[in-house]
Symmetry: C2
Subunit: 165 residues, 2 copies
């Protein structure tokens, strides 16, 4: 099972692809899509959409999960984030894959065991769970963390179904 | 010259197509794209994107203009609006057309003469400028108002170029 994790942002969207076979996870690819702050907003959205559509085509994920975006205290930032998130969700959904969403606290809890973990602790755990992965940056690490969270969640759902059956 | 005006929203996006020949404007089509509030966000964004892509293909606008979205006092509403706006701008920009943006105050000023005009005054002016147009609703009227504003703006730019030449 191939899982794509996403950390949406207008300036930089992190992405990470992992494979899950039973309880075993492995790293496939990760990266960051950057858009030019000097370009027109609509062009930045096209750049983001085209890059994500390309990643979806290349890796053909069975499941997609995105870090839930929170309304920022700065309304202009919230608007920007919303625009990027809309395009990111669209690119995934157009391929017919359901998009799971996880709050940052839940991702931290799944990886480190506490919702108040530091960013560095999450990154260290990603590196430990996916040994040998060359991680493109902080946003790519967050995207991989979301993919791992989704894998755990799917594994748990599977185990529950099995124990109920 | 065919101009498409848009009033972006997640629940309802208004659109309106007009033709401009010199100083004459005429109505071509208008409507509202509604998305199901009970559907998943990603599905609603796909509905919006597909409908707008279809409108772009059907009417082949030379220019597109959208009502500028404002950060709302409610951050959750701002996030929703941002998502819809991102998808609307993307659908237009993917067809290679530049998207002009106009603040609501500017649209009111262009149509009624004052930025503090009531919504009803704008709608009445749209109906007067585009006689015979059956307007689908308030969001479609706003979209037509944005298209008219863009037509005026383009006409003015043309007149200035002519007077300078």
């Amino acid at each position: 099972m191939i899982i794509l994790g996403l950390d949406p942002g207008l300036a930089c969207t992190g992405w990470g692809v992992i494979a899950r076979a039973g309880n075993r996870l492995s790293h496939i690819a990760n990266g960051q899509v950057r858009t030019d702050a000097k370009a027109a907003l609509s062009d930045r959205l096209v750049t983001l959409f085209d890059a994500l559509t390309d990643i979806m085509l290349r890796h053909q994920p069975d499941a997609v999960a995105a870090e839930e975006v929170f309304a920022n205290t700065n309304p202009q930032s919230t608007l920007k984030l919303g625009q990027a998130r809309g395009v990111v969700l669209l690119a995934a959904a157009r391929s017919g894959v359901t998009v799971g969403e996880y709050a940052p606290r839940l991702v931290k809890k799944a990886l480190v065991g506490t919702g108040s973990a530091e960013k560095g602790q999450v990154e260290a755990m990603v590196a430990r769970l996916l040994p040998g992965a060359a991680i493109a940056g902080a946003d790519a690490a967050d995207a991989l963390a979301v993919a791992i969270t989704h894998a755990h969640h799917l594994g748990l759902a599977h185990a529950i179904r099995r124990s109920v059956a």
